[in-house]
Every structure is written in structure tokens, then in C-alpha cells.
């Protein structure tokens, strides 16, 4: 075949100028600039913003949301949505607290109590994820509806369990857990260190392994993924179980913060998690986004929430600012060149 007959893929070579444009259209880069600007502004308004204690607070709050957002990220990249994570935090926290409380009454060793508690919370979360997976892959419910079911029912069960275990009050009382969770290395509390490790592992799995690759492929074009032999149903199911598992661990995280399991502890968290993922640049239609973006998204949300309180802005404004960020992120996405589902 003559050379000039070949289909040559020569759209816009990579010139330095294109490179600059690419960086400018990079949502993560913009997010990073926004983050620096925000922190500078808060610092200029109140110099106590840059203290170890304040950053411990920021990282601790960051950690709770980060765990949820990471699980949500997998689901969203796979083209789904998980609305149930907030309720999962509540129901796993209450059940975990009940088990841990029982162990402490039996004078269990503190380390074992917390380890078992973490496992229980993770398992309860994974079970909720499993229910989501069943509804989505077997009963063929739309993810939005399936996880709306567990969002609603999960919260109901959390309230019921709390009613049953402790007449509606937060379950269990474990001041030792709260003490442990406030111990810190520099700006990182112990639970925050665990969370950051999990986030790093999750990022590696999403970007460097076959599991992550299939997650992107399914979100990008589920038909193509099935056509090359990927077991799409099983993979999608596993992603919801993973999201539930991480939400369960978040339940444990908040148990440690509060020293008890409250049925209201995850109220509205699903929206924060989804907001962080969207602000971080992931596409709600699936297939797009990077874990570093989501982490930045959570960080920006945390800093905004903290900073505004720090400079005495009424908390209601925080919600409005967060709304503005979501609008901005969504606008940026619609400006990006789209090569949507059809090929």
C-alpha cells in the first residue's frame, strides 16, 4: 500500500502553545489557584488561620468528606451515582457503636474494640452497597432511584436502631475513642492519617490498575466495555460495594470524632461528596475526572467552610458559596471539548 494512502491521525500536534492552553483548561490547575487564593485571603483577614490547631481541624474535617468523596468518585466515574452514602454513615455508625459499647462493657481491650468497630462499620457499609448493587444490576433500577431507596431506608433504620439501643439518643459512649482521634502528628490527627492513606491507595487503584481502567471504560462507553468482554454488571456492582464500604468507614470516623454513634451524623453528606467530585472536575455522565481533582475539591470545600466561619461570615453564606463553586465547575465542564458517548 502506498504511504500516502494511509489514514494519518494528524490533528493539532503538541506545540508549546497548545500545552499552555491545555493547562489553562485544566480544572485541577484552576482549582489549585482558587485554593491558594482562598487561603491567602483568609490568612490576610485573620492571621490565626495558619496555625497547627486550625489545620488539624481542617484536615480532620477534610478526612471525613474525603472518604465519602473517594467512594462516590468511583461510582461517578463508572457512570452512576450513590445518594445513599450519608445514610450509610449513620446506620454503620450506630450499629458499630452498639457493638463497641457491648465489647467495652465486657472490658475489651481498647485497640481491639476500635479494630472490631472499624470492621463492623465497613461491613455494614459494604452490605448497603451490596443492596444498591442488587437493585441496580439485577432489578435494573436506575442508580439514582436505587440509592434513593437506601438513602431513605438507611436513615430510617439508623433512627430505629438508635431508638432500640438507646431510646433515640446517640449510641454508646466512648470518650477514649475521642481522645485517640484527637491525637495528632503535626497537623494530621490519627484518623486523618488513616484516611489519607486510604485516599492514596484509592487513587492508585483508580489510575494505575485494571480495576480503575475498567471503571473508566464502563463510564465512558458501557457498550464498548461489554463488547470487549468486560463483565460490566459485576464491575458496576463492585463499585457500589466499594462506595458503601468507604461510607461505612466514614461512619467509624465520625464515631471516633463524637465518641458515639448518632443517627443524624451523616445528614446531607451525600450532597457534599457529590459536590466535591463535581468541583474536582469529574463528569456526572461518567468516564472523566481524576482522583487528585476530587481531593482538591474536598479540600476547597473544607477550606471554604472553615475559612468563612473563621472570618465571622454567617454559616448560611457557606452554602451559597458552595453552590457558586458547583455552578462554576459545571460551566467549565460544558466549555471543555466534548467527545460524548458516540464514537
Amino acid at each position: 500500500m502506498p504511504e500516502n494512502d494511509r489514514p494519518v491521525l494528524t490533528s493539532s500536534p503538541e506545540t508549546p502553545r497548545n500545552r499552555v492552553r491545555e493547562i489553562l483548561s485544566n480544572q485541577q490547575f484552576l482549582l489549585f489557584v482558587v485554593l491558594i487564593a482562598l487561603m491567602t485571603y483568609f490568612y490576610s483577614r485573620n492571621h490565626y488561620f495558619f496555625t497547627v490547631g486550625e489545620f488539624q481541624n481542617i484536615f480532620t474535617n477534610f478526612s471525613g468528606y474525603a472518604l465519602l468523596a473517594v467512594g462516590e468518585m468511583f461510582v461517578i466515574v463508572a457512570g452512576g451515582i450513590d445518594l445513599s452514602v450519608g445514610s450509610t454513615v449513620a446506620v454503620s455508625g450506630v450499629l458499630g457503636a452498639w457493638v463497641m459499647n457491648g465489647m467495652m462493657n465486657g472490658h475489651g481491650n481498647q485497640f481491639w474494640v476500635l479494630t472490631v468497630g472499624t470492621l463492623i462499620c465497613g461491613l455494614v457499609g459494604a452490605f448497603v452497597g451490596f443492596l444498591n448493587a442488587l437493585m441496580i444490576t439485577k432489578a435494573k433500577l436506575v442508580p439514582f432511584v436505587a440509592t434513593l431507596v437506601t438513602l431513605s431506608a438507611g436513615l430510617g433504620f439508623a433512627l430505629l436502631f438508635a431508638q432500640f439501643f438507646n431510646s433515640g439518643q446517640p449510641v454508646g459512649s466512648d470518650p477514649a475513642a475521642a481522645v485517640f482521634s484527637s491525637k495528632a502528628i503535626w497537623v494530621f490527627t490519627y484518623p486523618a492519617i488513616f484516611v489519607i492513606l486510604i485516599v492514596i491507595v484509592a487513587g492508585i487503584v483508580l489510575h494505575l490498575t485494571k480495576y480503575g481502567r475498567y471503571t473508566y471504560a464502563i463510564g465512558s462507553n458501557a457498550f464498548a466495555a461489554r463488547a470487549v468482554g468486560i463483565n460490566v454488571q459485576r464491575h458496576v456492582g463492585s463499585v457500589y460495594i466499594l462506595s458503601g464500604f468507604l461510607a461505612g468507614l466514614t461512619g467509624m470516623f465520625y464515631f471516633m470524632q463524637l465518641g458515639s454513634g448518632a443517627p443524624t451524623s451523616g445528614d446531607g453528606f451525600e450532597l457534599t461528596a457529590i459536590a466535591a467530585v463535581v468541583i474536582g472536575g469529574a463528569s456526572l455522565t461518567g468516564g472523566r475526572g481524576r482522583m487528585s481533582g476530587t481531593v482538591l475539591g474536598v479540600f476547597v470545600l473544607t477550606v471554604v467552610t472553615f475559612g468563612l466561619v473563621f472570618i465571622n461570615v454567617p454559616p448560611a453564606w457557606t452554602q451559597i458559596v458552595v453552590g457558586g463553586f458547583i455552578a462554576l465547575a459545571a460551566t467549565l465542564q460544558s466549555l471543555r471539548p466534548s467527545g460524548r458517548k458516540s464514537v
Partner: protein
């Protein structure tokens, strides 16, 4: 010339969706190094036949033989494992993945040793080998770390076909590969089909664009209402007679 053994043989396969009889006792043979045009009006059963051959759907009755071996594929993976690659109309690639990731989707190159066992991908190797594989079938891709969404329609189709050809061991099914392409891009796709033929693959080419079918195929199988109505060497057809047998006019005229 002695009668060669067919690489792909379809024997009396039927398939219905509810009360709709999509395929009725369809039979044909295909040989290695042969390009077969599969034509028919909308609803003639071409896509159903392709789905049966690629393992997406299972026929209600009938048999499929590949290299003389009876196959009963339950999933696309099983068909792929047997050596059949399929290029589906408009939806073969994941637009958000790079060219290399797409070429190796479903058969990723893993890192060596323990990392590979833990599921780590060797992205560098995939990007490099994808370029080589595409070049071998006559598609040159100077830029690999781009997502497919950044390519033009013709480029995407070239990558999709290149992937199918480089993986196919026996048969390649192309469902409307020149759809939505400009004249020049379509010719490029046709030249890639010639390349596949030279490699000794059996190409089954579905198209509504009859000039393309007449240009590139060795034999044409015409389907109408779920049945094969004509199966003859391309040289026996003219544009008019091909159209006539697709529409059924040929029989009316006797």
C-alpha cells in the same frame, strides 16, 4: 481448485424477539482471506446476525462453526476468545480513554511480576504497542496519549478498525464502518479492509453504501426479512441488480 474448508459456517440459525422473527434459518459460509458483503434493507436481520456471531445474543436454533468447530457462545468474551472481532456501528471505543487504552481494552498489558499480579497496568507498553499494531495495518498515529474524544470521526473509525484487525485471528465483523465518514476517510477504511484480507482474515462487511460493497468485497450475501435471498460472487452483481435483490424487485421482475 479444491473445495476449501470454510473458516466460518452458519447453519440454519433462527432468532426471534418476542413475536418478531428476526432471523429465519440463515445459512452461509465464509472463507479465510475473503471479504464478504452483508447487505439488506433496515430490518433485514443483518445486525441480529452480527450479534449472534459476536456472542452478544444467542440464536434460538441453528449452529455456528468456526474452523470446523461447533461454537455456542454465551458472551462476547467467548466469541473474542475464539478469534472473532467485531466492530459495532458507532460505539466501538471508549471516548474518554487514550488510543492505547482503547486498543488494549479488555486485554491490558500488565506490569511484570508482583505489581502485575496486583493489577497494575503497563501503560507505557500499551501506548507503544498500540502504535505498532495500528501501523502494521496501515494506520499511522503520531500522537498516542490522546483520548479518542479528541480525534475526528474518521480517525476514531480508523483506530477502531485497526484494533479489531490487530486482535482478530480468524474473522472480523464490521458493522457499517464507513457510516458518517467523508469520501476520503471512507476510502481509507476500505484500504484497511484490503489490508485485513491480505493478512488472511475473513472480513464480513455490513454496509448500506453499495458502491463500497461492490468495490471491496469478493462475495455478497443479500438478506431480506430475516432470510438470505442471494449469495453470489461480487462480479455477478451490478449496482442495479444488487439494489434489485435488496429491495426484492429482482424476483418481481423474474
Amino acid at each position: 481448485m479444491t473445495e476449501r474448508d470454510a473458516i466460518l459456517e452458519v447453519r440454519r440459525i433462527s432468532k426471534s424477539y418476542g413475536s418478531v422473527q428476526a432471523l429465519t434459518e440463515v445459512s452461509f459460509k465464509a472463507f479465510a482471506g475473503e471479504v464478504i458483503g452483508l447487505v439488506g434493507d433496515n430490518g433485514a436481520g443483518k445486525s441480529t446476525l452480527i450479534k449472534a456471531l459476536s456472542g452478544v445474543h444467542q440464536p434460538d436454533s441453528g449452529e455456528i462453526f468456526l474452523d470446523g468447530v461447533h461454537h455456542d457462545w454465551k458472551s462476547p468474551q467467548e466469541a473474542i476468545d475464539s478469534g472473532i472481532e467485531t466492530l459495532y456501528q458507532d460505539s466501538g471505543l471508549a471516548p474518554d480513554l487514550t488510543i492505547g487504552s482503547n486498543v488494549f481494552l479488555g486485554r491490558e498489558i500488565m506490569k511484570k511480576g508482583l505489581l502485575g499480579k496486583m493489577g497494575f497496568l503497563d501503560q507505557k507498553a500499551m501506548e507503544a504497542e498500540a502504535l505498532e499494531d495500528l501501523a502494521k495495518v496501515g494506520i499511522s498515529v503520531p500522537i498516542s496519549r490522546r483520548t479518542v474524544s479528541q480525534l475526528s470521526g474518521g480517525q476514531r473509525q480508523a483506530v477502531a478498525i485497526g484494533r479489531a484487525i490487530s486482535w482478530a485471528r480468524k474473522v472480523i465483523l464490521l458493522d457499517e464502518p464507513t457510516n458518517h465518514l467523508g469520501a476520503r476517510q471512507a476510502q481509507e477504511v476500505l484500504s484497511v479492509i484490503e489490508e485485513a484480507k491480505k493478512r488472511g482474515l475473513c472480513v464480513i462487511f455490513i454496509s448500506h453504501t453499495l458502491p463500497h460493497v461492490l468495490q471491496v468485497t469478493d462475495r455478497i450475501v443479500v438478506m431480506r426479512l430475516g432470510q438470505v435471498v442471494k449469495d453470489a460472487p461480487t462480479s455477478e452483481f451490478t449496482a442495479e441488480s444488487l439494489l434489485a435483490s435488496i429491495t426484492g424487485l429482482a424476483e418481481l421482475q423474474g
